[in-house]
């Protein structure tokens, strides 16, 4: 945490001026150039944004001063122009744990109030912009059942996932379908464990973990020949094909492994929904790995653990099979 140079009060990067004495915070200049991460939900906001595009919370505490005027001259992000949903009353925002995706907000205390929520098709079998309203407390989704069904998507189970609307929140429940449910990364990094799957563009990848150590050598002292083993934090990343087979397997050395359409460590080639540099895997010295989105146009989607629940916020992206959806949640 930074301290104000004038009065010593605690300030942070999202403040353009000290809340106690009004002196300017120098690093706000950096925030004005590289953007601001929301303190409430960790979503990334473009430079000059005054309210978070994801949760609507104001980003700075002090009114814009001379230094923030530079930020105000930057074009405001398009998302900030439309009518924002009123800020949801959030009693105690918890910062996410350092190495975990923030899975759930604290459950809001608004008993009985079902939020007005709907799903909008971004791409898939239905035309883009098709809207499914989430009505009722339990809304199943899949190939064959319920108000949200995609009969032509054979990659979906008949009952693939369930939306639960309770206590003013929308919760997505994974029904352990083999294809799984994917949620778009927003601002934060996702921890990758061996077997973690994630989608970039229309490609599905699996982080297979660190390269396993070699088997013990044979007794006669002969050394098994092959390509040299890479030194350092070598990990395996596999492409998962439709139906579950493994395609290309990449052996790459960290700490940074970029994934994208061209010029990346893992170059996946032409895909209209893949950005040139789309996502990045950061491998730590102990072999643990995190996945970041590199500001891609269409997002990076991480698979939910089987049978887990995940609260959805307004603007969250989802992938069920070939269907890419966006969640819209209005306040109660």
């Amino acid at each position: 945490m930074l301290a104000c140079k004038t009065c010593g009060a605690a300030v942070d990067l999202t403040m353009s001026a000290c809340p106690s004495c009004g002196a300017g915070v120098p690093l706000a200049r950096i925030a004005a150039l590289i953007g601001i991460a929301c303190r409430i939900c960790d979503a990334y906001n473009d430079p000059g944004a005054e309210a978070c595009v994801a949760c609507g919370e104001p980003l700075g505490l002090a009114p814009p001063t001379g230094e923030a005027g530079m930020a105000a001259s930057a074009p405001p992000p398009p998302a900030a122009q439309g009518p924002k949903p009123p800020p949801i009353d959030e009693p105690a925002p918890q910062p996410p744990a350092a190495d975990e995706v923030p899975v759930l907000h604290p459950v809001r205390k608004a008993p009985g109030a079902a939020p007005a929520a709907r799903l909008m098709v971004e791409r898939g079998d239905a035309p883009a912009g098709t809207v499914f309203r989430l009505e009722g407390e339990i809304v199943p989704a899949g190939r064959a059942q319920g108000p949200i069904h995609f009969p032509r998507d054979t990659s979906l189970e008949p009952h693939h996932a369930t939306f639960l609307l309770r206590d003013g929140a929308v919760v997505l429940h994974d029904e352990q379908a083999p294809g799984g449910v994917y949620v778009r990364l927003r601002g934060t990094a996702a921890v990758l464990r061996p077997g973690s799957q994630f989608a970039v563009g229309d490609r599905l990848l699996r982080f297979a973990g660190p390269l396993p150590p070699p088997p013990p050598p044979p007794a006669d002292g002969t050394r098994s020949l092959g390509a040299p083993r890479p030194e350092g934090r070598a990990v395996l990343v596999e492409e998962c094909l439709e139906g579950g087979a493994t395609g290309r397997v990449y052996l790459r050395v960290g700490p940074s492994i970029t994934i994208g359409r061209a010029g990346c460590s893992i170059t996946l080639g032409e895909d209209p929904y893949l950005s040139q540099a789309h996502a990045e895997i950061l491998v730590e010295a102990d072999g643990s790995a995190k996945l970041h989105d590199l500001g891609s146009s269409n997002g990076t989607f991480v698979r939910l653990p089987p049978a887990s629940d995940r609260e959805l916020r307004d603007g969250d992206g989802l992938r069920l099979g070939r269907q890419v959806l966006r969640v819209e949640v209005a306040g109660p």
Binding site: S155, E157, A177, L204, T222, S224, G226, R229, C240
Partner: protein, 291 residues
């Protein structure tokens, strides 16, 4: 394509400008071209050049007598015919590319190994104690793997069909051909990347065992090389930019070397007949069949 002339010893098509055969190192120029030698340093002087190419000393023009002396007596025999009565030899190639001391091959054969046999490679841990058996039979050499850990590989001189389980070596890579895994066809097919019709996959074997990368291949032509292609090793400097080609059909994979510098080698699975100029790779030791 530059004009090619076949090597008189092994038949490999070499470029006309080559001084020696790319495969067996047989000198390709006519002996008259080197009839003169520099009086100062002894280097051969080509044609009617007035100066030595090595030391710059002026060289006297060749006298007709000297030309006669340099030429073989009588009608020049073809080199292949010259070699027919000679025994085959097994020549270990040193790492600087020069030939080592040759071993004469007879019908009783020579065993090559790290600790046992007639042709010893003591410093190469990739060679098994008893690795391969070379024997000379009726105008050919037969090489047989003696159950070695890393196998015996023969340099590719013509396109060859490979089956699942076969191995090839190129540069520092050792690759195995495997069938592409077919998913279970029951129930919903989980979503994933589109399968463009992969038939086989090429698996990279790492040193000390284990596998690394894997390259699924579609039917048709697949390039192998350092710069581009379906099977690409950008960090392996011993792989040529365009090294080999894999033509995949339903059941077989044809491998063709595209004139690579260091060659493409195929692991033998049964006793294999070789001729003069063939090269055998065991461990990191290259051996050449000569006569």
């Amino acid at each position: 394509m530059p004009p090619l002339s076949p090597c008189p010893r092994c038949g490999h098509p070499n470029e006309l400008a080559s001084a020696s055969c790319k495969i067996c190192e047989q000198p390709l120029r006519a002996p008259t071209a080197f009839a003169r030698r520099c009086g100062m340093c002894g280097a051969p002087v080509e044609g009617s050049q007035p100066f030595c190419g090595r030391c710059g000393q002026p060289v006297a023009p060749a006298s007709p007598r000297a030309l006669l002396k340099g030429m073989p007596r009588g009608a020049p025999e073809p080199a292949v015919a010259q070699g027919l009565d000679r025994p085959f030899r097994l020549v270990p190639m040193r790492h600087d590319g020069m030939a080592g001391a040759p071993h004469a091959l007879g019908p009783e054969g020579l065993v090559c190994g790290r600790t046992q046999g007639e042709v010893l490679v003591p410093d190469d841990a990739g060679v098994s104690p008893r690795h391969a058996l070379f024997s000379s039979r009726a105008e050919a050499v037969v090489v047989e793997d003696l159950g070695s850990l890393n196998g015996t590989f023969v340099r590719l001189r013509a396109p060859r069909a490979l089956a699942s389980g076969d191995e090839i070596r190129l540069g520092r890579q050792r690759l195995r051909i495997e069938p592409h895994p077919k998913p279970a066809a029951a129930g919903a097919r989980p979503w994933g990347s589109v399968d463009p019709g992969y038939r086989v996959r090429i698996v990279q074997i790492l040193e000390d065992g284990g596998t690394g990368e894997s390259f699924p291949l579609r039917a048709g032509e697949n390039a192998v090389g350092r710069e581009a292609g379906a099977v690409c090793f950008p960090l392996d400097r011993y792989v040529s930019a365009r090294h080999a080609r894999l033509d995949v059909s339903d059941t077989t994979v044809w491998v063709t070397d595209l004139g690579s510098s260091n060659g493409t080698f195929v692991r033998i699975t049964e006793p294999t007949t070789l001729g003069a100029g063939d090269q055998v790779f065991i461990g990191m030791q290259l051996l050449r069949i000569d006569r």
